[in-house]
Amino acid sequence: MSESISVTPERPPAAPREAARPPGRRRRTTYANVHRRREARTAYVFLAPWFVGLFLITVGPILASLYLSFTDYSLLEEAQWVGWDNYSKLFFEDTRFIQSLKVTTIYVVVSVPMQLAFALALALALDRGLRGLSFYRSIYYLPSLLGGSVAIAILWRKIFGTDGLVNAVLAIFDIEGPGWVSDPDTALGTLILLHVWTFGAPMVIFLAGLRQIPQSYYEAAAVDGATKLRQFRSITLPLLTPIIFFNLVLEVIKSFQSFTQSFIVSGGSGGPVDSTLFYTLYLYLKGFKSYEMGYAAAMAWVLLLLIAGLTGVNFLASKYWVFYGDTK
């Protein structure tokens, strides 16, 4: 703001016209005020699409789904107000909902730390001056881009099928593997593996974070006789905690909403025996297969609160382990 004000007197033709305007309420029509108002007006024009989207596509639907969550609605009939029924049904009667919560929680709790551990380990291995770094980075990053696609989910289903690639490899060693995706004990494991396979995206973020750590810290530590392990523990890890935190928050939110993989691998059912019934898959089945839209809206709100709660816990816990030093 202040810069632009200092610039404007350089424009002589504009000034007299603005000054000649009739004074507004309480003589507020100073030059700076006019300028500020015009800037704000321009800003709103620039933001117009976003404002429309925010209210029509985001805020409106959030409120609408809060209302729907207290009703019975099937798209064909009028919505019937049912109070807290949907919510009490979710938590006290619907065992499939509890199952979907359980499946999703296991998926998030197991796959996210494993994925981040791989990402960090590879980022450390690739750091600084390694020959062919960009080549390796591309190879490891590629699965992240493809991992969410239907094609890869199809591939996964086949690799871990009864006569799939994994069992073909095991057969070489005379081991008869189970039908990984059709066995309720292992089906979720294959999806966890698929998520870990996409560690490339957080790895790229880790790599960028590692590059921010000044090389001189390591040199100073080496002069003081610190071993590589000690340098990692006392320099790399603490300075990287903000990035670890960022990746953790992002991946928890993202993996809580996984849909495509379980949908394709289980053939749209969440099977076998609901062992891959992800939260969003169950929401989809309720809302768009059996058209219990009020119920699905209640699930959506529970999801929102869960994710908000998890993120909140993450932020609170971060006080104890994330290090925001005076590195700037």
Binding site: E3, S4, V7, R36, E39, A40, T42, A43, Y44, F46, L47, P49, W50, G53, L54, I57, P61, I62, S65, L122, A125, L126, G129, R131, L133, Y136, S138, Y140, L142, P143, L145, L146, G148, S149, V150, A151, I154, L155, K158, I159, G161, L165, A168, I172, W197, V204, I205, A208, F246, Q257, T260, F263, I264, T280, L283, Y284, G287, M293, A300, L304
Partner: protein, 289 residues
Amino acid sequence: MATRSNRVPFLFRPLPRGSRLLKHALLIGFGLIMLYPLLWMISSSLKPEDLIFREPGLWPSAVTLDNYSDGWTALKHSFGYYLWNSAVITGLSVAANLVACSLAAYAFARLNFPLKKVWFAIMLGSIMLPYHVTVVPQYIVFANMDWINTIWPLVVPKFLATDAFFIFLMVQFIRTLPRELDEAAAIDGAGYWRIFLQVILPLCMPALATTGIFTFIWTWNDFFSQNLYLTNSDNLTVAVALRQFLDSSGESSWGPMFAMSIVSLGPIFGFFLAGQKYLIRGMATTGLK
């Protein structure tokens, strides 16, 4: 990165020795394991059907293109039809995100307006918002507008800058541009629109490229909303068509399915090769600040 400056041709560089050689061997080995499923899918798509599961190796003992020609025509329309549908939706989404998000980003990065901090915080919060929270009412509205089985539910929200992640990415980028450029243009008599179009946008090319490529890949891969809104067999996209493939052919014709899976991944791979610099830089900047 250090190797960038001394451009010794690859084959003339001294071979790494000792522990470094071991490290490279490990990294390459691990990369191979990572990519093995993909390579195996490519190789399987070239094998005759009965060989696919008898050979876990990569090198096909017999090569055929039958899977590609069979897969291309296996569904109601030729696969090119679905590719075109995906391309239309993806192309419009990219254009929409570029326009709508850069407009909003300029306002957030450069202009002052009342409650700016509040709006900015709301924008950041909306990045974290799960799509599933809004999808039920959105579906009801779109159904009432008779928009099911059209591309509008997939494209119109993008014209309204609902992918706030890209607004954030561009705000971060614009903030790194020196304000003196805006001021110099203002002294020369440029208004906000001219500054935006002729100063900021041209300098934003890297951020625009990142936005474009990510939008392309995410839209192309998107299954949830395309599966939801496109149900008529005449307007399926690649993602939904592949799923139909799986349903209709069951566990039998894996060769054609693999072949079409490869075809569907082709554009993503192409964009990845062409724009990986922007992808990686984009990830790094939004991740760090």
